[in-house]
Subunit: 273 residues, 2 copies
């Protein structure tokens, strides 16, 4: 029977960083089953009281709970650290060495991350999202010159999720444009993207996987057939190779890995939100 | 003159967690200007060599660099820790106490986070993204019963970014539906969302801010006028209050805060990617 532990992600704001950090730590332990509880917006003594009660309740099973905390306020976080659990407190752990290194005290103010700090930053993020949505799947070629990235590839190879990630999470204006059988017949890049070669990045995919994905959309169509998928993928890769467009196979990569590689290769700075 | 420091985010995978963690730590220090350098995919001895050279180069300015590292492999990360910089190594720091608590050694394997672990997880994420896109701005009412959240609110109040965040980053099938002057005239919720009251969540916004946002879209239109915005916001809030739909003002909240609050209030579990 696996050892069941309750893991609390506790934060004075959204808890997103605590949860990402915690999940990546927990993924290093096989054979355990973790019950995850996210407790965001813990920013008052009363909220801490409620959290401590929940932790104590979970501890009654006999298994000590695990707490991943990202509360900035020291008087609140020290109460969390005093409970009967393994508490990994990332502000407490890392702020002290940073304070020593920089020779100053930190602000110890909550809400600096994932809050609304700079309205201009917010507007430029919203603009990146709107741009990305308006330029999904070649919908608009207007203002393509304002795109920071233009993803190209055959239909259903993963352009949309990667574009949305770049827009929403990295603040990048990303267009995406399909490569279609028409383009392969002409054996040329689509005319609308030709003037923007330096910002083109290709995505490709294993034909088997593409066929399975298209099958969900249009079952038993020619579009979804393995032979059609093979033909399109081969033609797209040939075209991108000849035109020296860098490309990436999406079959074995997560959305985050694709976005990170695109930005690195095009030397674009991301702003992680 | 502000103290300029170079901060390296070093990771064997995407570096997204390291960067989020690092940014939230750095945001606690005012008056410093940090030059940020992201170095993802540092997963070999050669890659570590290149990183160490970059860190040494940055150190020549006289200011010791800061390194936020999330490299899992101990032989690689120990070399990073030995360099002349303040190194905050989050796996090294937190894995040991977790190993002691759980009584086992961790897998120390890279790529468990933001990699492609479980194909089913990937497909359900893609499905959430596709659902959310297809149900943006009331575009489709098909399968609205499959939505886990339906956001409602006046045009341009922030429904789309919040929906996309829920789909892309939390794997939640989120539809959104505009409340329009027609609805206010009828003084009723739109018919298509009525059967799904338990999953409705409202967004509202300050009229001044709404007017500024609409002004960007359609300058000097009636749609963007402050009087029209005031009327719509007031009518929408009145309707939501009467129908007991929980709602949130987006004017002072980040996308992450809105998404986190919606999930908490509707008691939905998120899966942070």
């Amino acid at each position: 029977m696996p050892d069941q532990r309750t893991v609390f992600f506790v934060s004075d704001r959204t808890g997103i960083t605590a949860e990402a950090l915690g999940n990546s730590l927990l993924s290093q332990f096989d054979g355990f089953s973790f019950r995850r509880v996210t407790l965001p917006f813990v920013d008052s003594a009363e909220a801490v009281d409620r959290v401590l009660a929940q932790i104590a309740e979970a501890g009654k099973s006999g298994r000590r709970p695990i707490v991943i905390s990202s509360i900035v306020d020291e008087s609140l976080s020290s109460r969390i650290r005093s409970c009967d659990a393994l508490v990994l407190d990332f502000f407490h752990t890392f702020l002290l060495p940073l304070e020593q290194e920089l020779g100053v005290k930190s602000a110890h103010a909550a809400g600096r991350s994932h809050g609304l700090r700079d309205p201009r930053e917010y507007f430029s993020r919203i603009e990146a999202i709107n741009f990305t949505l308006a330029h999904d799947d070649g919908q608009s070629v207007k203002e393509l010159s304002r795109a920071q990235v233009i993803l190209i590839g055959v239909s259903r190879c993963g352009k949309t999720p990667t574009s949305l990630y770049l827009g929403l999470q990295c603040g990048i204006r990303c267009a995406n444009f399909p490569l279609t059988p028409d383009d392969f017949e002409r054996d040329q890049l689509p005319d609308s993207v030709k003037p923007h070669r330096d910002r083109l990045f290709g995505l490709t995919i294993d034909p088997e996987r593409l066929s399975a994905i298209r099958q969900e959309r249009r079952p038993d169509s020619r579009y979804a057939s393995l032979s059609q998928c093979r033909m399109e993928v081969e033609a797209a890769e040939q075209l991108m190779r000849r035109e020296r467009i860098p490309f990436l196979n999406t079959s074995t990569r997560s959305i985050e890995e694709m976005a990170t590689t695109v930005l690195r290769d095009l030397k674009l700075e991301r702003h992680i939100f």
